[in-house]
Symmetry: C2
Subunit: 168 residues, 2 copies
């Protein structure tokens, strides 16, 4: 696995944006959603979400665990996994199955079918929407009678920056 520590050179998503504001805003939005729904955004959970927002890419559970330890939280796997379970279940974080890693959702709260573009070179992850019921898969599901409950849609390739760097 390529290096996933250190936020110094963390690649931002494919388009530039005000990252500090993006972290603040999303965190505030999450607080609000939790308040509305009676969910408890406890310190560990909030910290995990904050870390994922800051990195702005997929982090493995054990990378998160290291960062949690640095922040003074418990350092055993269940600490990270339980916080991630909560965040995933409530739509604040998505799991990237291809990487066994986790990434903060860019529009938390709303239920949606995410799709991801994963750069194989710099590990950047961008979230897009998928429309699972349209297209070939939806047609196949309808024709066989399969009831789709959840979809995993992940594209692996080169992000714009890395494509350019490696001579297109």
């Amino acid at each position: 696995m390529t290096s996933r520590e250190g936020s110094a050179s963390a690649p931002v998503a494919f388009s530039d944006h005000d990252h500090a504001a993006c972290v603040e805003d999303t965190l505030a939005a999450a607080e609000e959603v939790c308040a509305e729904r009676g969910l408890r955004l406890t310190p560990v959970r909030r910290k995990v979400l904050e870390l994922l927002l800051q990195e702005h890419r997929a982090l493995g559970a054990y990378a998160i665990l290291d960062l949690l330890r640095d922040a003074g939280f418990g350092s055993q796997p269940p600490v990270a996994y339980r916080a991630l379970d909560f965040l995933v279940k409530n739509g604040f974080v998505h799991k990237i199955e291809r990487l066994n890693a986790f990434v903060a959702c860019v529009h938390p709260g709303e239920t949606h079918s995410p799709a991801f573009m994963i750069c194989r070179k710099c590990d950047a992850v961008a979230e897009a929407q998928s429309t699972p019921l349209k297209g070939a898969l939806g047609a196949a599901a309808r024709s066989t009678g399969f009831q789709i409950e959840r979809t995993v849609v992940e594209a692996e390739g080169l992000c714009p920056d890395c494509a350019e760097a490696s001579g297109s």
Copy 2:
């Protein structure tokens, strides 16, 4: 993880078919493709493909390893993983990321973008085609300049049989 041993009650794919012939035919097709391309379908590799075709659903690497041991092959993880690497790389087998498991391809040889429907109840897996460049994900990739090399498309839900069994 639910039981994955024993082929007695293994669910076939969503539509009935002549399973024995399907195993034979696909195995023969794989032999042919390997001959054409100068690939070596060695005993272990052939056996792994055969096991996956017989089960007709996703098997974890360690489940495959158990079956290999029963068949008299080496029983250490690399034996299974190396055979699977070969089969995946050459398009005879697909990995189901959601399950960390492997399933035989239904039309080996041809390069294609598979999509899967995974029953959460009986573990049956059906393969369909995806059209990654059409639809929302393709549009997102084009507009950001992301170069898609490979896609993972997996739908989780209830297969027709299980949907009916659990009262629709």
